[in-house]
Symmetry: D2
Subunit: 132 residues, 4 copies
């Protein structure tokens, strides 16, 4: 586990994720990043699907994604994450590194806010789970 | 509108739907077929998302899809549908033709059943809307 | 056609694009934005798939996407685009508006660079087609 | 490893694969099945992307998929495969079982043919790798 991050998850590119250029389609990286966030949230006790049924929704307000090195069919990679609070926002710093050479593939900041009972506000459960 | 079908919908292939062979990925045809069914259901007064909140779910029990001619980036095509009841099942005969040459691309039978209040049974709303 | 943009394309949300929150999944907006760019490029005489076979690749270097209003099942929307050159980069300003109320759904800047024969450089064909 | 199959691969459902019914979208199972086939082919020495560049294409001619039990967000499952030749066709029997209860989720027969240098014929490399 890399010291600069709080969580990491390994993946392998699947052929159906590649487009006619033979590389992972840009939108698929958002899927990887989302899956990493949701698995991270589960690892700190938050279940995205359960939260939804309890009236707590975590909403992505902004996704700023830099595409550094394309991943190709069969590539393995690790998706790493750290998170900081900034007022009402939670900023997920999410970076993807190709394996085994650790070349940076994606550098992203995903800005998330929580909606509780239909109102934009910091969810106590969300904050406590993340900052503990 | 082709006389052998009850409904049809035109589409255009989007580049992100193509895989590294440069053709539409097989799984994407299921998306086309699903969207055609849902638009058909809306056209006869059934809204898939609303049905779901009313406790009526239309579930695909079987998808039998023959891949005849691959669609490529930029291809236009028409997705046609007819439906018949067979006991508890609704069989959607769904065929996709490339445009403008009307070459058969996909020949599919999608077997659907309805679940009402958690039980497998024919939904009256569903049946009446389809057979009228 | 809105005067502030160079190109626009209408879409309708498909049910399979919605996630368990009942709204369009974040990554799907990148698909909408990509399809809009590719259709725009075709409209000015550039074919993305053909360019690829000629050794010209347009690569997204950065996607900065603000999510303003979620789109839901069945929503119609228009995806608008304008583009400016900034050194080696082409910046696509891409905004999505829900229809018919024209509420802003997505505000994005997609930074693209071109690779010709394996080297990062401005493609003449690309530039001329866009700036004409 | 289950004795009735030649290959198996474990997966975990990702939230973005679930639709507004809260279950894995039907088309996504085709992605799971494809990824399983491609990983199996690699395990016997065949690389789908490399085959493509050598003029050998494995094409799905028919997908017959029975949907038995829906998978939900977070479910783990195993995708199992066996294959038999039938004339020019290779029939992949592919079944998906939910874990840990081994409940059958998907029962599918994926009929594949090989195209060599543009002609429909049995690829010797493909056949030998599969039957060895």
């Amino acid at each position: 586990m890399n010291k600069n991050y709080k969580y990491e998850l390994k993946f392998k590119v699947r052929d159906y994720e590649c487009d006619l250029q033979g590389i992972v389609n840009n939108s698929v990286y958002q899927n990887y990043l989302e899956h990493t966030r949701h698995e991270y949230l589960k690892s700190v006790g938050l279940n995205f699907a359960e939260m939804h049924t309890q009236g707590i929704t975590a909403v992505v307000a902004r996704a700023d994604i830099q595409f550094k090195t394309s991943l190709k069919s069969g590539d393995e990679f690790v998706s790493r994450l750290k998170v900081e609070q900034e007022g009402i926002k939670f900023l997920f710093h999410q970076d993807i590194y190709r394996l085994p050479d650790e070349k940076l593939s994606i550098k992203a900041i995903i800005t998330t806010v929580t909606v509780v009972d239909g109102k934009l506000q910091v969810s106590k459960e969300f904050k406590e789970a993340i900052l503990k």
